[in-house]
Amino acid sequence: MSQSVLEASGLRVHYRTRRGFVRAVDGVSFSMDESETLGVVGETGCGKSTLGKSILGILPPGTKVEGSIRFQGKDLAALRPEEMRKIRGKDIALIFQDPMTRLDPLFTIQDHFIETIRAHEDVSKGEALQRSVKALASMGIPESRLKHYPHEFSGGMRQRIMIAMSLVMNPKLLIADEPTTSLDVIVEAQILEILEDLRRVYKMSLLLITHNLGIVAEACDHVAVMYAGKFVEYGGVRDVFQRPIHPYTQALLHSIIHLDSKELYSIEGLPPDLIDPPPACRFHPRCPHAEEICRTEEPQWIQFRAGHYAACHFGKDFL
């Protein structure tokens, strides 16, 4: 029996637009264990947010979804909307990038909590309130602020409220989509430490979607690098950061400007249009190592080291 909390295979999400289908996620497979943190990293428009939304089943109507997503063994795609609603927010929770737009300005924090809890469990208001106080206290927010409205909190506090709210149901899986991008660097570090503590204490799995490789290095066990709707590399964080296989991963790591940077490096060209992506390897037009085969044949998803996968024809040259 598998220990996986989440297992996606052959996942495809295609958005319908006037110009044609946008192939935002195009054949992605992975699995996550209990209390694992998986970072999904990529640039704007690579499909990483769509991936998160597809797990929760919150894509716009008319979107074409193929493949399977199994959560604790259940195929989420086969569930009826009301069954999915029971899982969403309870077993699988989500925190977004901008906490301000996700809290209703007309409701107090207390209202938010009571509504969330009572949507999933048949408990009294009093009990719901008690649980809210505890969850907020664990995030360092005092009871005296329960009756305040979202605008009365700072950005970091709002994100802590969002985290408290997603945790009050004790989820098995938390999907965090750029949870710290709108926050300052010190508050970002605070939030990342909170997430790390929670994961350990509650044995929760965390899917962390981000464009920031520094955050992945600090917070994740595994990392999947996404480019133009596909995973190009997957592995343990140390393997991927220290011995990257795919040229895109190498280039991305090289292009980070960090405190020890000695030179500037950038990737030539632009990410492709996902309505009409390049054939075969999608990175080939920007790849410094591309050869004829990269333009004609789709690279296989190969395990190059134990637990370290990549999709590159020349992967073994980079071992």
């Binding site: 106080v133 660097v185 570090a189 464009h211 600090e218 950061f241 991305l252 980070i256 960090h258």
Partner: protein, 431 residues
Amino acid sequence: MDPVPRRSLRGLSFREGLPVTDDILEVRDLVKHFPVKSTGLPDFLGGHRLVVHAVDGISFSLRRGEIFGLVGESGCGKTTAGRTVLRLLEPTAGTIRFDGMDITHLKEAKLRPLRKRMQIIFQDPHAALNPAMTIGQSIADPLIIHEGASETEAKASALDIMNEVGLAPAEQLFAKYPGDLSGGQKQRAVIARAMILKPELIVADEPVAMLDMSIRSRVLEVILDLKRRYGHTYLFITHDLATAKFICDRIGIMYLGRIVEIGAAKNIYADPKHPYTKALLEAIPVPDPMRRGRKVLPQGEVPDAVYPPAGCRFHPRCPAVLPTCGWEGRDFVEFLEQRWISPEVAAAESALGPLEHWEVSGLVARRPRRADDPGNLADKIRVILEEVKSPMTEAIDVVEIDRNDVVIRFRPPAKLEPVHIEGRIVECLLY
């Protein structure tokens, strides 16, 4: 005879015999406050206007040809500072000298000819270009406005500068609209528009923050390359310490309207002195999984700039804080609030509450006495303060019963002065 380049002439003092100054921009005690709202009462009834202390007395100067970084988190006042030195915002107080001239209160008509010598690159390239103008029109427009160039001349110059910033093929992109370009291309267009007048001073306000990591470097390279060729001076505004380290000669670290540390970038990065600078450097995520570790982070978040903390503005969050750093009444109430997050403690100390009954004013926190107060309330507070001993509690002068109030009174803070130390200026009582 060799022609004397114009630029080096500008570097000379305009009055013979005076020492040559090489500062193109000199900012002294600059203040910019934004009014927010009044307290509701007219002034004579004790009401007063509230202001955001966006920039609250900063001084720095830019030497010709250098890149000076103004670095800090959102809301620290760096963008306001950048716009105020260009007189895009009216300064509240202080002086701004551009190339030796006091421009603090210069009238718009006199300012205009100077405008072409100082330009700005905005953060959001999607918002900085007029969607109804072609890229070429946007870039050429400053020449037509400031130098009365003809359309043909302006177009020729625009094509030149477009090639220089890497907007190629320039002829083709000239006729495109901003909507047809990628983010990186738009930012190059914004840079080209700022450069076309060959300005001497450029304020670059987070020029790469909105771009993807893989193209940030390319835009920074364009900026560095142009600087090498034309010797522009930059005020580079950023929240990203890593970029600042790479690109800046000197930096000033801003926190809540003040510069807390300023000096040569290499000195500050090698050995940061101000606890806030240290905290910022510590907090940056390092893209190396082998260097993971628990961080020492400051508490809480940046406070409201309408009510900046007394003394050093960083003191409520500072890991190295002293009793003399600026503790005041509200810090005591904040302390109670944090302490009472634990419901058990809150219940045990309910005699001191509720929190809403505490009023603060400057160095004092007070709560009206109630009939059901225990007789030894002041003693109770003293016991708690003794038990939790911290720089904050040590700053408390007296806990007393003053007529109908329980009063906590703090000692006034030590005076904070900029200190020169190891190649930088720091504003911190530790030094």
